[in-house]
Symmetry: C2
Subunit: 413 residues, 2 copies
């Protein structure tokens, strides 16, 4: 594809994302919905103007990696760890329930094969960390108690999703499940999460020193983005999703993150502010590409809207997909209104679900109807849950410590 076409596509993606976000905002909907819908509109589902290509896919990936860097940077690791027990319970139940319910529904109600049923169950497991953090951020709940629990659970969910994907993929090839393999992946990912922030912190001290002594500016945009991208690649090498590498780098650069053994390597508040100011435009440039890309990938043109099976199948799966996550929320030891909002925040599927669906399709596990049904479920959960979370907060916001207008790194400016 000629370069100027890709430049034009990129320009189109950015403009569409912007207009989508502004229109959504005017309509009282979350902006991220506007960006997702912009992607659905531009993509094969409606206009077919843009087909995802290598370059745009990679820019989208950098977008979600940088978004997770920002989330990590704004995260108070202490609070995240304190929320950890609740996050783990939420993640495990919110992972197992949709998987088992989805599996059972496919196997015993729709009479699909074992492998197909497991793949469909897998598709329903992982929460879209990108969509979830954007929604929480937009309603000013990113750093609330509920937000921290959901963030921790979404991170764990993503890891579990990748492990499950590896297991199912192996099963589809060999017909057997290698639990040792899954254990290895988990151990590696665990090792990454212990080591990565410490290494990243040490490297960030170097960046801080370079920033302090360099006679030219530009240290933060180059060296820091390089650090984030390198940790994303490192995460991949350790078997973790790449975006969690960005998250680990963000955690490490947060001023609230200290190295163990009392190694005190303080960086100034000024550096903290420079990182925020200089990374913000870069993050704002790349992240819409990711959300538009999710919309582009939701290929609704594959859906045969006249098929009764697809409607029944997708609606039944949607009930399971939503119910499973709500069950996860309900077991969290919080007040009822918090449990509900936590469960709702876990509902959007998005990118990981799409990876499952795509793998199912290309490996021939899913036929066209099952694939279409699964994509529809992802569309329902991704596009609708931001609405109802926002409505819920509007209605029951008084029950929470409402901070709807508090600025965050993402929104301030």
């Amino acid at each position: 594809m000629p370069d100027y076409i890709i430049l034009l596509e990129l320009a189109g993606i950015l403009v569409a994302a912007r207009f989508g976000a502004e229109i959504a905002d005017r309509l009282g909907a979350p902006r991220v919905i506007g960006e997702l819908c912009a992607g659905v509109l531009l993509g094969p589902s409606v206009l077919g103007l843009i087909e995802p290509n290598e370059v745009i896919r990679l820019l989208a990936e950098i977008g979600i990696i940088l978004l997770l860097f920002e989330v990590g940077f704004e995260t108070d690791l202490g609070r995240l760890v304190r929320a950890g027990g609740k996050s783990a319970g939420l993640a495990l139940v919110g992972f197992a329930a949709p998987f088992l319910l989805g599996f059972a529904l496919c196997r015993y109600v729709f009479d699909l094969s074992l492998l197909v049923s497991m793949f469909v169950g897998g598709t329903l497991t992982a929460t879209s960390i990108g969509v979830t953090v954007r929604i929480l951020d937009e309603i000013g709940q990113g750093s609330s108690q509920e937000g921290q629990i959901v963030l921790g659970a979404a991170v764990i969910d993503d890891v579990l999703g990748v492990v499950l994907l590896a297991v199912l993929y192996e099963f589809s090839l060999t017909g057997s499940v290698g639990l040792i393999n899954a254990g290895q992946v988990l151990a590696f990912v665990g090792g990454f999460f212990v080591l990565a922030p410490m290494i990243a912190k040490l490297l960030s001290i170097g960046i801080y020193r370079m920033h302090a002594v360099s006679s030219s500016s530009g240290v933060i945009p180059t060296a820091l983005v390089a650090l984030v991208l390198a940790f994303a690649a490192l995460a991949h090498v350790f078997g973790a999703p790449e975006l969690l590498g960005g998250f680990a780098a963000g955690i490490a650069l947060s001023r609230r993150f200290f190295l163990p053994l009392g190694i005190s390597l303080k960086v100034g508040a000024e550096f903290d502010r420079d990182v925020r100011d200089q990374m913000r435009p870069i993050i704002q440039l790349f992240t819409p590409v990711f959300f538009v890309m999710v919309g582009l990938s939701l290929d609704l043109s594959a859906v045969d809207w006249g098929s009764a099976f697809i409607w029944f199948f997708s609606l039944a799966l949607a009930v399971v997909a939503i119910g499973g996550k709500l069950v996860g929320g309900l077991i969290v030891n919080e007040k009822l209104h918090s449990r509900i909002v936590i469960g709702m925040a876990m509902v959007p599927r998005g990118e990981v679900g799409l990876i499952f669906a795509e793998l199912g399709r290309v490996s021939g596990v899913f036929d066209a109807e099952v694939y279409a049904g699964v994509v529809l479920v992802i569309a329902y959960t991704t596009l609708l849950s931001p609405f109802w979370i926002r409505l819920y907060y509007r209605r029951y916001g008084a029950l929470f410590a409402v901070r709807e207008n508090s600025p965050s790194l993402h929104e301030a400016g």
Copy 2:
């Protein structure tokens, strides 16, 4: 190529560019040389760690487009137009002299064929606008009288280079030169330069309004980058180099650009400052990718260092390449020391020369020896001229209105 490898390569490019720039700075050399050398080091010439791929090539292209946007944004159109006559003379002579001298040298001294001689001449024509503006910027001469003349000439040179490339390419296919075709290209490019800034200005008013009323930030990184990329694509459609689309968009957004017919559409000084603050990190992120990419593309491993022909050929061509541009500088109606510096600033070839060389190689016009000689000339002019321009300014700086330490958009921060 797997995504994480590309992420790792990008991180490597950014880190190498940073270290290269810092080391060059410590050694008293221009930073851009450090970035170019980082590319030579990482590329096939030395370590062979990174092979240019689709994604990196496109990010590099976005880098040079954004750099030219910045240059346009900082340009006083009035001064550029006043310098226009001098720029045009400089560009034409500095274009024709290396072409004719290079052609004559190849045809009558080295006895090469007509087509090869013309291609070699073409390779020597176009000044690297990217390298030139970076050097002028680093020595604080970007907006000096000499800087404006050189900038204008480099823009004209780039247009002429593209026209010549089209003509030579046609000649290599059909054996005849279509001057009507060349005239058409020039007319289109001229039309683009008249229309594009006006359209861009009108669109920028829309962006300004959106920026003023939007409840969220991020208008500038998304909408403005989209505008710049769209104009780069538009430039291509009109037959102009893509980077000049970025330049036109930058000119249009400059506060000193007013629409004709007295249409006064003023945007606030605050918007101007926001554009500067928010675009700077994005530009600083992308531009090193471009300069490293130029270094990567200088494949010196293709050079047979034992060949006497290559040494003679490349040194003779280098004399012609440098002399031709100096002649262009000497005809400019300025004081002698200004003429010399103007001529020297036009010497770096870089990207356009590489495009010629690459086309010559893949179309089979150049054999391995000619290609290697041409690449060496590009390397000499690109890597050495920043040094001597800087040395000249250090030595004779008192003759100029010295502003070595004045901050610009590129350097401040």
